[in-house]
Symmetry: C2
Subunit: 454 residues, 2 copies
């Protein structure tokens, strides 16, 4: 921390006038600055290696709130503040244990409880397995057949999609609704194939929908182990699986969204928001998901400041709390924005990893889409070829009803599900240049939106 403070203070602010420069020169200077003097990589290093995983309600989440607040205060942004919000507080407890038993041979399996799940009894549960590959297979099963057994949802993510998020959204119901479906069929528990590709050795956690209806303990196993288990079941359909989880849901906890802003010179009441989410799953450091997006968002404001670009509109960096298991921070932010009648011109979220940028997904009115498309030639030099309709972000979603044009930072998606919600999402998987290019692309877009409106 001390180091960061010192550097920020020592840094010489340049202040030549950006109004006189062409857009392409300004964008070039944004990239030059970010690729040589940005702080996002070292700030992410601190968040990951000094704080680590930071699930809502945890001590680490509180540390992350205080850390990002102090980073922005040290940068001397115009305003830095916390927005209180009550968040769910689920804890994993002691490390889980799992194995399958085939003719008295126990084979250990790495497991992890899904976020929001109830725990097994202290003695664990042990039962036979019913494997299904998809919902149609499940529908064909009678309750009698499933009752008392462990439902095993084993639909792989489809590797044929070039955009991996498409495969994720197709297979995601297993994690989100698996426990509820298992409950409905009277199963004793549910094992979910992790949302990663088939060569992935790690179990991935993640949130479940509607935990009130999901009254069986839910775990994930890695894609590799899911394939292995499936093979074993072919040989011996009556093998049993044992697992023990120790998670629990504590009372809601007080937490915060962390907000920093640079005031607009002409239209201070028009807000351009850049954000990510500060909470992360507990299995790893939350480097790509979504420490990257938070540090890139802070970097956008810092870049404007250090380059002396005075925005006409207010640029606001928001670190949303609780995206992973409740989105309470996003809801609170939108609710308060509505109450205060804030005008969000645009909201940009970076929550798809700190990988090489490919463009932005847009959700907005036709005029806004057309205007953004007209900047294509300015952004093509930076490999931002994809500027069109697309997914944006869970945290900014509620601002659409308030008239904001939503934009989702879209990096290369190939490696995202190798690390998403698993033990692999650590700082060592982040490329400095890729992270910086993402920050620069966000700054360039904010610059254009600020200058030309939407």
């Amino acid at each position: 921390m001390r180091k960061i403070i010192t550097l920020a203070v020592l840094f010489t602010v340049s202040s030549f006038t950006y109004a006189q420069q062409t857009d392409s020169a300004v964008i070039r200077s944004i990239y030059d600055y970010t690729l040589t003097q940005s702080d996002c990589y070292k700030n992410l290093d601190y968040l990951c290696n000094k704080i680590g995983g930071r699930l809502s309600g945890s001590e680490n989440a509180e540390k992350a709130v205080q850390y990002t607040k102090s980073v922005m205060e040290n940068y001397d942004f115009d305003k830095v503040y916390l927005q209180e919000v009550m968040v769910p507080h689920w804890v994993r407890g002691e490390k889980e244990e799992g194995y399958f038993i085939n003719k008295k041979t126990k084979t250990p399996v790495r497991i992890c409880a899904l976020g929001g799940s109830i725990a097994t009894p202290k003695s664990g549960i042990q039962a036979q397995i019913i494997e299904v590959k998809d919902l149609d297979e499940l529908k064909k099963l009678s309750k009698e057949k499933v009752k008392g057994k462990i439902l095993f949802l084993n639909r792989p993510m489809n590797p044929k999609h070039i955009e991996t998020f498409k495969a994720y959204s197709e297979a995601g119901y297993q994690r989100r609704d698996g426990a509820r479906l298992a409950s409905r069929y009277g199963a004793a528990g549910v094992i979910v194939r992790s949302l990663g590709f088939s060569n992935d050795p790690s179990p991935h956690t993640g949130a479940m929908n509607d935990t009130t209806e999901a009254r069986v303990p839910a775990i994930a196993i890695s894609p590799i182990d899911a394939d292995k288990l499936s093979e074993e079941l072919k040989k011996n359909p009556s093998l049993e699986f044992y697992y023990k989880t120790n998670c629990q849901t504590l009372p809601d906890a007080k937490s915060y969204n962390v907000i920093g802003e640079i005031k607009g010179s002409e239209f201070p009441d028009e807000i351009i928001l850049v954000g990510g989410h500060l909470d992360s799953w507990d299995l790893a450091q939350g480097a790509h998901d979504d420490g990257a997006g938070c540090m890139q968002s802070i970097e956008v404001l810092r870049t404007f400041q250090k380059l002396g670009i005075k925005p006409k509109r207010t640029i606001r960096a928001v670190m949303f709390m609780n995206e992973e298991n409740g989105t309470k921070g996003a809801l609170k932010y939108a609710e308060e924005a509505k109450e205060k009648k804030l005008k969000h011109l645009a909201a940009i979220e970076s929550d798809a990893g700190g990988f090489t940028p490919r463009g932005f997904g847009i959700d907005g009115a036709k005029e806004a889409m057309d205007k953004i498309a007209s900047w294509k030639t300015l952004l093509d030099d930076y490999d931002l070829h994809e500027l069109g309709p697309g997914g944006t972000g869970v945290d900014i979603g509620p601002l659409k009803a308030q008239g904001a044009t939503l934009l989702g930072f879209r990096p290369d998606s190939q490696r995202y599900f190798d690390i998403h919600h698993s033990t692999a999402d650590n700082f060592d998987r982040v490329s400095k240049r890729e992270l910086e290019l993402g920050a620069a692309s966000m700054s360039a877009l904010v610059y254009l939106i600020d200058k030309y409106g939407l």
Copy 2:
């Protein structure tokens, strides 16, 4: 190996007729197949983890020749053969040792000899350092000032270039010509800043030009250590550096290019070549550079075969030997092609890493460029946005004079210089999907070139 053979034999060949399908359907099937059933990742695993680094003339290079030959034979390509070529045989010898001495305190530094360098005397060399940031600084120095000292070439790669190869080509002279320049000034030795970005902790090796004139022992240190050494020199310009290297150049060795082909049905004498280089530096496994390109090239032929696409022209996969320190394999290949009056319609090289594809660089006649550009809409869906003039490949270069259109596979370049020629270029840095997407993009391009000519 046994496993690979078994799988290849067991595989059922599909044989529906591709002529009746639209190009977009064929390309889709190429991607589907590659993303679900390709062997390139597991073949690369074997090359990296069972064989490893394979510098020309080494036992491992010979193993790699035999391995790739047997892989292609097991796939039952129409023809698989070796093309003999004599290659330089430089060996590193025992691990190098280096440190700087500042007021009697020795600080160890990770060093590596540059490829082709002579060794230090057995006792090593120790001398003061003359640091220069660029050639202009060097030109201003008198021979007297440099004589007997160690020249330290410390120009960083410029991080501002979006395309990292541009930064590489600007700073590359330090490695290629450093020892020659040092020799000319009468220096005792030369330390070169490695060709990686500033947060890189590893020294990178690589070839030098014209080793006959480069009569001083040359080493590289990591960018991090180069910055550190530079800082220390500011505090104490008379500090000394010690290093000891043990490399030597042995007599040229016999080696081979490895070639496999599928015979064309209509124009068997027209060749479409896909290739990479089989040799790699000795510090790591040569995973991205260029095991990836070799395994992708073999995969192109395998994909045609497994999908039952009968090419009109002959498709040839070439694993060139000795790209890294002599390009003797490439020269031999082109020489023999000329003698035999072979017609290479196109030559595609993959030697920029197994990262997410962005397109292809092209070097050819306007008509060929225009034809390739006309396929843009077919390739856009696969994020192959970059199809234009650009770098192609060292191994295929000599075929240009024989009329071939040259194409260089162009993957995302951001992480390449984090691993290039350093201890980091290992299989664990390769993403299965990224590697496969590269192979599929090469297959798609070969399919179009074969169908429409150039």
